[in-house]
């Protein structure tokens, strides 16, 4: 089995250790006998939605974000929209997240037009407004997702569903307790750190969605939560048997991953959650 990951703007948007996200997807696929090909898509490269099974877009400096915003809209916009409407899993972090919403209004200069995949918008309230910086934990699918955030802009959701609820940290705007946004299988978030290494369940969720879409493994559906259910704390179903195609996502040895996850939870005072994460390490 082969999956192809399109890495959007690897040169321009790679500020926050985004390489860790790619390494994680690659490793978790390969340990299960799935080849993950990574294709970099830079400025000027068209995006043919049929050629990819997963897309990743990271964060960058404001200086790099402006030409990227223009290229995203003009060169890749239609392909990206088509891919997302066709349920391609997309992970967009920080600057990439902002550019998938309606617009980013920087502290100075004109608005950067986004794709409007998420009904959300981002405003930087000026150089005197403090940045949202620090460790962050959200509740997602009944589990915790940990990361680090560092963003000047505040993102406000229209009708978009949030990715999760903030347990510690700032999230979208430090006001409404929401973090990230979800549309179909596209996920926008401010969590980096790098995000996927310490959140193996979230990494597997993306891989599962890609397999489901490409190979039509219908029973993987249980791994994909409708956005409305994300906030109510339900957990995804576990794989049942060898015949079940979800065994493609059989557990890996995530000992160290969950220890690292638990260490963040504990230092933020989420002791009970840290114990739960360590039990998950044991289960792995």
């Amino acid at each position: 089995m082969t999956l192809t990951l399109g890495h959007l703007y690897p040169d321009q948007l790679n500020l926050y250790g985004d390489r860790g996200n790619i390494l994680t997807l690659k490793r978790r696929c390969e340990l299960r006998g799935i080849e993950l090909r990574v294709v970099g898509l830079g400025i000027g490269d068209a995006l043919a939605p049929d050629e990819y099974d997963l897309l990743f877009i990271g964060g960058g400096q404001d200086k790099e974000q402006a030409p990227v915003a223009q290229d995203l809209f003009e060169t890749k916009g239609i392909g990206l929209w088509a891919a997302i409407e066709d349920d391609m899993p997309v992970l967009a972090v920080c600057g990439g997240y902002q550019l998938l919403a309606h617009y980013y209004r920087p502290a100075e200069g004109p608005d950067m037009k986004g794709l409007g995949v998420f009904d959300a918008w981002t405003v930087h309230k000026g150089p005197r407004t403090p940045r949202c910086i620090g460790d962050v934990v959200i509740r997602w699918n009944g589990m915790t997702v940990v990361g680090f955030e560092n963003h000047g802009g505040r993102t406000y959701l229209g009708t978009a569903h949030p990715l999760g609820k903030v347990l510690k940290g700032y999230g979208n705007n430090a006001e409404d307790g929401t973090e990230g946004a979800v549309y179909r299988n596209a996920y926008g978030t401010y969590l980096h750190g790098s995000l996927l290494p310490k959140n193996p369940h979230f990494a597997d969720h993306l891989i599962g969605l890609a397999l489901q879409r490409k190979y039509g493994l219908r029973r993987l559906t249980s791994l994909s939560m409708p956005p409305g259910e994300i906030m109510n704390g339900s957990t995804p179903a576990q794989p049942a048997s060898m015949e079940d195609p979800t065994t493609l996502l059989r557990p890996l040895d995530d000992h160290l991953e969950w220890q690292a996850h638990a260490a963040i939870l504990e230092r933020l005072g989420l002791y009970e959650e840290a114990v739960a994460a360590l039990r998950r390490a044991k289960a792995a």
Partner: protein
């Protein structure tokens, strides 16, 4: 003034640290003009050194050169690179009447934080400002690379015509400052094309991932084209769109050869001299540091002999390749605080293919930068299979261990010692051993039962029997024996055979902790006494 000095004496007695920063803070509050007032009395004025990596070593090289040239050199203590540190360094040499002691033949060499350099230049009116490089560093504190660059551009426009600029020709953002200067500009750069790593970088070749922090042309925004690249964005670049290119350097390293791990032999050319200089430090980044110091010395009109002798006699500053003897082992300390810095330390350590004993310390205190996501951009893959022993510690030990796992290190092949206990783990396994003598885990029967009960709660029908589950939880505790830097240092030394070298690679506060620990054991001098 007197109260400033009294504060210094007091802080030293209380062992708050070097003390000069606190003196400076008090002095600046009492007398806001103090820096300008005192610095104006220095017979030979002052030189400022800034940049992301290499400030301390470059100012050390320059100070050694200037001393050999017969000057009296005053410096700020490493780490005290904000204005208060500068004020402190001057105030401790002031007389009660407000005059500087021994200002004749005196010159100050100050290393300055890259965000503070504009204010420092305004107050000190330096004879030269040295910009060593600009890399991504501490995103949570400095913001993006571009915001530091624009701060520098604004500052350079305001410098008086009498201030010389010393710039790295191979670093595009730093070099471009020369276009804005009103005074003289002196560039330094590397000309040894055998050091070119371009063609190896990018996604294709594993093990040579390069972090590039300045990618697009400062003038027109197009991506640079490189005819040679030495590391990160350092190299011979040209903008294919507007034609902006690397300026031709005045001081050039024509040929670089590593003699031993410790020594680099460099052929240096200036407009008047051509000669070989031995740099008593490893790493290509130290060639740039030496070139920066040589070029600054040129700007000050220093002759060739003290340049050579100053560099060759140089004693490394704490944490920059310094050696400490412990129990028949040599400890080498190699500070690494950002992706390019760590990449170059790894290249220096592992490019010969010799297995090394290594202790990594990754902290996320404010002075380190709270965001450690940059470790994912570091080429740890390079070290795979080349660690004779590997110990990982610090406030972010788990993050680093995970990064190393992804670089191909088996978790069981590392000794993971977090800086604080993971209490949640203790709940599942009983308390962990503490300190040197902590052997027993101190588990009571009740804790054991609770551990099994906890395991049973989460286990499904397919889970292994309870005994095995408990055993795996024990293994989890065993995977980090105890916690804390002292424990990690002990473990790492124990894993290094007598007569061999343990390489310690810490972030900034990790370095301070190591220093305190060595000092506690009576192994290094107080570093504020070890300076000047």
């Amino acid at each position: 003034m007197i109260s400033g000095r009294a504060a210094g004496a007091l802080s030293r007695r209380l062992r708050l640290g070097g003390g000069t920063s606190i003196v400076g803070l008090v002095a600046q509050r009492l007398y806001p003009d103090i820096i300008g007032h005192l610095a104006a009395q220095l017979e030979h004025g002052s030189v400022l050194i800034t940049g992301t990596n290499g400030k301390t070593t470059t100012s050390g090289f320059l100070a050694a050169i200037l001393r050999d040239a017969g000057l009296r050199v005053w410096r700020n203590r490493e780490g005290a690179n904000l204005l208060r540190g500068v004020a402190g360094a001057l105030v401790v040499r002031a007389l009660p009447n407000g005059n500087l002691r021994r200002a004749g033949q005196a010159i100050s060499v100050f290393e300055i934080d890259e965000a503070v350099i504009p204010q420092a230049a305004r107050l000190l009116e330096p004879r030269a400002v040295v910009f060593v490089n600009l890399f991504r560093d501490q995103l949570d504190r400095y913001g993006e690379v571009e915001s530091v660059a624009s701060l520098w551009r604004q500052m350079v426009k305001e410098l008086p015509e009498t201030t010389a600029l010393v710039l790295n020709a191979d670093d595009p953002t730093t070099a471009s400052l020369g276009e804005l200067a009103r005074g003289p500009v002196l560039y330094f750069g590397l000309e040894d094309l055998t050091l070119d790593v371009s063609g190896q970088d990018g996604q294709g070749t594993p093990g040579t991932y390069q972090v590039v922090d300045s990618r697009s042309c400062v003038r027109c925004g197009s991506d640079y084209h490189y005819s040679a690249r030495f590391y990160s964005h350092m190299g011979h670049y040209q903008c294919p769109h507007c034609g902006l290119e690397r300026p031709s350097p005045l001081v050039r390293a024509l040929h670089v050869r590593q003699d031993t791990f410790d020594r680099l032999r460099v052929t240096v050319e200036t407009p008047t001299q051509l000669g070989e200089i031995v740099i008593p430090l490893p790493g290509l980044y130290n060639v740039y540091n030496a070139l920066a110091a040589i070029t600054a010395a040129q700007a000050l009109g220093i002759s060739w002999e003290p340049i050579v002798s100053g560099i060759e006699q140089f004693k490394p500053a704490f944490g920059r390749g310094e050696r400490v003897q412990v129990a028949g082992r040599t400890l080498r300390l190699l500070l690494a605080k950002n992706p390019t810095g760590l990449n170059e330390v790894l290249r220096t350590l592992f490019s010969e293919g010799t297995p090394r004993h290594v202790l990594f310390v990754l902290n996320d205190n404010i002075a380190d930068g709270r965001d450690v996501s940059w470790i994912w951009d570091v080429d740890f893959e390079r070290a795979k299979g080349l660690t004779a022993s590997l110990t990982v510690t610090g406030t972010r030990a788990f993050d680093l261990a995970l990064r190393l796992k992804y670089a191909g290190f088996a978790p069981e092949a590392m000794t993971l010692i977090p800086s604080t206990p993971l209490r949640a783990l203790e709940e599942l396994t009983g308390p962990q051993p503490r300190g040197r003598k902590g052997k027993g885990r101190g588990r009571t029967r009740r804790q054991l039962q609770e551990g099994q009960a906890a395991a049973a709660m989460t286990s499904s029908a397919a889970a292994p029997p309870a005994e095995e589950t408990t055993a795996s939880l024990q293994e989890m505790a065993v995977s980090f024996p105890g916690y804390g830097l002292a424990r990690a240092l002990e473990q790492a030394i124990a894993q290094t055979p007598a007569g061999e070298t343990l390489f310690i690679v810490p972030t900034y506060t990790g370095l301070l902790e190591i220093h305190r620990e060595l000092e506690r054991r009576g192994l290094t001098p107080h570093y504020w006494e070890g300076r000047d």
